[in-house]
């Protein structure tokens, strides 16, 4: 069990600064997911927590105790590597029990724990095999087993599922969620897959270019993204961003449409308007905000994605629930769900201004 605190953490590789101002408090038993595009520093942050990478600046505490200088083996954390990092010369059972072997646990205890973990993960029949005789999914399970056997105070996962095929990934995702429910141990999980992030996390930490963009629950990030980056990173398909100009009464879309702000609100300074595809609707001409032509219609069964071209606004993606009878080339009239629309300042921060019909 561990409460983890990161205070003003920074990381430099020589003269290159790759992370700065990392402040994060992780509650005991929380499932935290770190997401962000490739190269944003997710692995680096996780490795600093693990002790595999020195922390350049700031303080890292576990249960109130400073841990910056503590060796990885004394941090009581288990890590699942993206590459799995199974010991090729040891069979599955020895791989899983290796941490106990190093700690000189009695062999009976070791065997019991390995057997339990193998059973949980469905590896019982494979314990005598070498890693090279396992499939990718089985290797992934062994890597998980190696972490479980230790009963650590926190689990660290670095993109554990990214080498698996889609079906197996869904299955293992469920397994990890179940594991967290059962063990109630702090977990820090790195991924660049937002579906994994949204489904697993108690709280998500969005990173970009070495800085934390936002920390919040999945719903927080979806409904109230702190800035344009988070808004576009979370949610699939990606949020539409439309250029606007602020006016006295509201915002002016490029095609001349004015969208008013709620009465009494200040004149906005917005330069971008963000709206998720699911918050756009195809409506009769009279009630539309703007109109265009369907360039591509994707019928997905559960949803219909309409890629529309709107003159002087550009590409807009509309998502309608269920099957929507529309063909490529049809004219489309689009309305915004005004209470779901976000406005962003020129620096990318989200504004609190609420749009209305006023």
């Amino acid at each position: 069990m561990a409460r983890i605190e990161l205070q003003n953490i920074a990381k430099n590789y020589g003269p290159v600064e790759v992370m700065r101002d990392i402040n994060l408090e992780i509650e005991d038993g929380e499932f935290i997911v770190l997401v962000g595009p490739s190269g944003c520093g997710k692995s680096t942050l996780l490795r600093m927590i693990a002790g595999l990478e020195p922390i350049t600046e700031g303080e890292f505490r576990v249960d109130g105790r400073r841990m910056n200088e503590v060796q990885p083996r004394d941090r009581d954390m288990a890590m699942v590597f993206q590459s799995y990092a199974l010991y090729p010369h040891m069979d599955v059972a020895r791989n899983m029990g290796f941490s106990l072997e190093i700690r000189k646990a009695p062999s009976q205890e070791r065997a019991d724990k390995v057997r339990d973990a193998a059973k949980t993960l469905g590896l019982t029949s494979l314990t005598a095999r070498l890693p090279k005789a396992l499939s990718g999914g089985q290797r992934q399970r062994v890597a998980m087993g190696r972490a479980i056997v230790r009963d650590p105070s926190a689990f660290l996962f670095d993109e554990p599922l990214s080498n698996l095929d889609a079906a197996l990934r869904v299955e293992m995702r469920l397994e990890i969620a179940r594991l967290h429910q059962r063990l109630e141990t702090t977990m820090i999980y790195v991924t660049h897959d937002q579906v994994e992030a949204l489904t697993l996390a108690d709280r998500i930490v969005v990173l970009n270019a070495g800085k934390i963009q936002q920390v919040g629950t999945p719903l927080d990030l979806y409904e109230r993204p702190a800035n344009r980056f988070v808004a576009q990173f979370i949610g699939s398909p990606t949020m539409n961003i439309l250029e606007v100009e602020p006016t006295d009464k509201g915002v002016l879309l490029k095609d001349g449409t004015v969208i008013g702000i709620s009465p009494g609100a200040e004149r906005p300074v917005a330069c971008d308007l963000g709206v998720r595809p699911e918050h756009l609707n195809i409506v009769p001409q009279g009630s539309a905000h703007f109109s265009g032509k369907a360039e591509l219609v994707e019928h997905l069964g559960s949803d219909t994605n309409i890629h529309a071209h709107v003159p002087s606004i550009g590409q807009v993606l509309v998502r309608q629930h269920g099957h929507f009878p529309l063909k490529t080339g049809d004219p489309v009239h689009i309305a915004l769900e005004l209470d779901k629309v976000h406005l962003f300042a020129p620096d990318g921060q989200r504004l609190d201004t609420v749009l209305g019909s006023g």
């Binding site: 799995y84 990092a85 010369h89 290796f98 190093i102 090279k132 499939s135 230790r150």
Partner: protein, 280 residues
Amino acid sequence: MSAHRHSSPLAITGKYLALALYVGFALFPLYWLAKIAVTPDKLIYTEGTALIPSSFTLENFRSVLLATDFLFYFRNSLVVSITTAAITTCIAAAAGYAFSRFDFRGKRLVVAIMLITQMFPLLMIIAPIYKIVAAVGLLNSLTSLIIVYTAFNIPFATFLMQSFFDGIPKDLEEAGMMDGCTRFQALRKIVLPLTLPGLGATLGFIFTAAWSELLFALMLINSNDTMTFPVGLLTFVSKFSVDWGQMMAAGVLALVPSCLFFIFIQRYLVQGLTSGAVKG
């Protein structure tokens, strides 16, 4: 290899023919060595080019083993080669690990110097080496050979070992450290077992190099007591004649330790020991 199940019989025959030609070409000198070793002295010149001699004898082996100092040279060579191989491999393994895993000041400089040492022709430095060895009073000792061979082989052996360490994913050691190992434990329990092929190859390479070295042995050793085997071979060449039969018999015997050594290490030379470590 599934490719070979589908190829035509002609292609297979061609492939094996090419292989046979290559093997024959590579092994022919060895065959000739063995042939002359078992040919009776009086037939060596009369049947000089016959592929198979008309009669066989083990007389050459007997006289090499019993009537010459050959066993003595043999023992000296074994001492020098095994010691050199062991010391060099230990040092090279340590240095190679450091080069592969750590960044330290002066690393590039050390690598550059090691590369430069490999560029000099041996003949250029043989005189200074002789002077140094003479000055410290080590002429005619096996120790001098061990020191010189070790020094000369360390750079190459280090690069060799470094490439083997580079082939072992860093993740494995890190996983070990997360599992509770110190860096040294991770080295001993995880990296070392995976480096056995590398250690074997390096040992074998250095052993063979030291076993067949002639130039330094010739310069630094004059006394019969400390002669190594390659120098000893030259004693079969007298002023007036060359005792081909005995020389070749000695040569055949000289192959024995090399062969034994490689049979011993070959199971460590099997590649692919790290397969299964990472994804797949």
